[in-house]
Structures are given as structure tokens and as C-alpha cells.
Homo-oligomer: 244 residues x 2
């Protein structure tokens, strides 16, 4: 575990099933919400196929530019599960059977049912710690600043929960304002307000209901009182341009 | 439009709202399904914040390693919409008002309602072609091999549809086999089958129903007859290990 909690994170989703449109990505979506709530900034998400060079190159890029990286997927027993081997290669270390995990699995499955496929799931990059969670006997792994998690959503969630104390600090908060006029009518005024308050992130997200403009202005940051004050200022600005 | 259809694509999603967990990513998910159906390989998805250097660096990396890049988001009129400027910077060209688009917008909105915010949406990187679709008067853009689309899902979908003839060729097809035994019980046999048929991509995706293993083996490729043959081989293999 790190000495101080991670403030910035990247997520690496590994899986042909997401890139081929078979499976809708769910773990980055879950982690994004969870990390926001604990005040850790998710800076980037990358989705790559089950191809070792893609995993190694992307992981090596991400782990150098963010406090931590969370990977999802590819740690099962089948031929398309190549994440642990790829992580080991990224760190230029061996992939070794983890004795304590083999003991746990032997206890859980019994010696006979500890097949080659299951033994494969007990292999970790040399120097990695297993990440144990309630949802699976097969561990994730932590090596340096890289957390290797499962792709099955309930196991991913459980693994993230088990190490969440290592992420974030002061929670982010979010407030939203409904808009019923075209973005272009308030864009300049909203820009002025954003420039006055650089510690509040202001986003404008349009939608449409037929030809009627609709949408939301979203404010986020760590200081709730400040966000409320900026929100009041934006609401006044909107009243001035769209008197009801 | 390209001389030959793009065979490989990367998608660049631009938006703090996705990274902060406010909005569940929908456009890469839609594009992944659409590209699979037309036989174009989605090789990578990157999600980055509304930060110019992140957009520029990621776009320059992706456009050199894939036939084409599709970007999503950040082309509206507000301060957080910086994609067109970032794309222009990535290509080291100016961002210019597109005369034909201004004409179209003047016709649509009338001269008075053509505000500064709306004019902003008529700016394209120098040398780019506007991408016109049914869902929006404000264009996307095509510059070299980069397609710049909106983040609003129905506009993104409409823009992708309007250029889809430039992607793919022979459609991919997919077949699935339900599994009711642990992956570890067939992992070695499935690996053997995968090694025999490198033109069919075989993935194994576990799920669980309580303690009972469940899941699917998924086969995809371009040759449906071949996929059906491999499927039969896998079904026989599964019967041999789990006689019913």
C-alpha cells in the first residue's frame, strides 16, 4: 500500500469483448463514480485488446504518468487471459506461482480440483502482493503502483473496495443546474464565471427535447460552499438572459 | 473520404463528465457495435479530460497507429468545448470559420440569432471538410484520417452513419456457446482449439449464478462457415468433459 493515498489514477480495460461491441464497459464506469466520491481524480481510461504488446506498452505509459493504474480483465484461466503475464513483462519480472495463494486454493478446492487452469490463476508477477476480496478465491495483484483486477464486474467492485483506502482524500462534490435555453445564449457569460473560479470545474451538457433546447450545467470540486456560491451566480446569470 | 475503407480504428472520447462518473460512456459502445457489423476493427478506445495537451498528445499518438480515429465530444459553443481547437493544434493548422457552414447557419438561425457562440461552432481546422448529418446544423469535421464528432449520442450516431461507407468491408460475425462448468475445466482444451484456428477469435467470459459457474464462449471472425465448424468442435469438447 502507498505511503500517501493516490491522487490521480488511470484505468486500463483489457478485453476484445468490449472493443468488438459484445460487452458494454462497466468497470471504468463503476470506478469513475467510486473514485469521484473519495476525491481521487480519474485522468484517463484506455481500452485495449487481449494483445500482449498493447497491454505492455499502454501499461508502461500510464504507470509513469499517474499516481496509480487500475487494470480490469484478463486474469482468468483461459488462453485469452494474458494480463498477469503482460504485467510481469511490463515490469520485466518473472510470473511465479504464489505459494500462499496455492495454499488457500488447495484449502478451498481440495488438492484434486486444483487443476492446471486454477494454478494459472495463482501466478503473480514477482514482487506483487495478492489482492484478496470477498468475491473470489483467485487474487488480484498489486505491483508498485499498478492494481490488477478481474473483469467480472462484481469481483472488480469487490477488489476495488478492498483497497479503496489507498485512493483519494477529500471527496469531490457535484451540483447541477437545469437549463432550458440554447448553450450559445450563455456561453460567453459562463466562460467569464469559469475564469473567475478556477477551483470549480464547470461543464455544460446539452440535450434536446424535439427542437426545444435542454441540458445541464454541472459544477464540481472539493469545496461545497464555493460550489453553491458559483451556482447562485450562474443561476442569476441565466435569469438575466432568459427572464421567466 | 479515403481511397480504400478504413480497416482499423481508434476512438478518442473527450469529456470530464465521463471521467468523473457523471455520464456513462455511450458513444464508443455504440461505435464498437456499428464497426463490428461493418467489419472494421476497433483497436483502442481512449477517454481523456477537456485538457488541450491531453487531447493533442493522445490524438497524435492514435492517428499514427490506426487507419482512422473518431473523436467524440467537445464541439459545442461553451468554454469546455475545446476539441476543434485541439485538433487544429494537433495538425499544426489554424482554426478558421468555415464560410459554407456560416451560410448554412445564417439560413437556419437568421442573421440576428447567429451569436458568437454559434459562430464558434462553424470553426474547423484549416483543410478539414465539414461532416453534415441529419441531426445537427453544426458540423463535425474530417481532417486527414481524423473524424471529429459530437458527444451528444444521437448526433454522434447520425454523424457516424453519414460516413460509415468509409469504414470496414466484410462484416464480422459472432456466435456464442453457453457454458455451465468452470472455465478451468476446459481451459487447456479450448487453448488447443484456438491454436488450430487462428482466424477465429475465441473468448471465454465467465459469470456466476451463486456458486454455480455460468458464462459464454464467444467466437468471432469473418467466415461464418468456419465459425460454425469451430463451434461444433468446442461443443463436442464440452460434452466430453461434462457429460449430461
Amino acid at each position: 500500500m502507498p505511503e500517501a493515498p493516490h491522487q490521480t489514477v488511470a484505468i486500463l480495460i483489457i478485453g476484445n469483448e468490449v472493443l468488438s461491441g459484445r460487452t458494454r464497459e462497466a468497470n471504468a464506469w463503476f470506478a469513475a463514480q467510486t473514485l469521484f466520491d473519495v476525491g481521487c481524480k480519474l485522468n484517463e481510461v484506455a481500452i485495449v485488446p487481449d494483445v500482449e504488446s498493447d497491454i505492455v506498452n499502454t501499461l508502461n505509459r500510464l504507470r509513469k504518468s499517474h499516481d496509480a493504474v487500475i487494470t480490469s480483465g484478463g486474469i482468468g484461466p483461459t488462453h485469452d487471459d494474458i494480463t498477469m503475464q503482460s504485467v510481469a513483462n511490463a515490469f520485466r519480472v518473472a510470473l511465479l506461482e504464489h505459494a500462499q495463494t496455492i495454499q488457500l486454493m488447495t484449502h478451498f478446492y481440495g488438492t484434486e480440483a486444483l487443476t492446471e487452469g486454477r494454478r494459472r490463476m495463482a501466478r503473480l508477477p514477482q514482487g506483487a502482493q495478492p489482492i484478496i476480496c470477498e468475491s473470489s478465491i483467485c487474487p488480484g495483484a498489486l505491483i508498485e503502483n499498478v492494481y490488477v483486477f478481474a473483469g467480472v464486474p462484481h469481483i472488480f467492485a469487490s477488489q476495488l473496495q478492498s483497497v479503496l483506502h489507498a485512493f483519494g482524500g477529500q471527496a469531490f462534490v457535484r451540483q447541477e443546474i437545469e437549463i432550458t435555453c440554447a448553450e450559445s445564449s450563455f456561453a460567453a457569460a459562463l466562460n467569464d464565471i469559469q475564469l473567475q473560479h478556477t477551483d470549480v470545474e464547470i461543464g455544460s451538457y446539452p440535450a434536446h427535447c424535439g427542437k426545444k433546447p435542454l441540458g445541464k450545467i454541472c459544477l464540481s470540486g472539493r469545496d461545497e460552499a464555493k460550489i453553491t456560491a458559483v451556482r447562485t451566480q450562474i443561476e442569476q446569470m441565466l435569469k438575466d438572459i432568459q427572464p421567466s
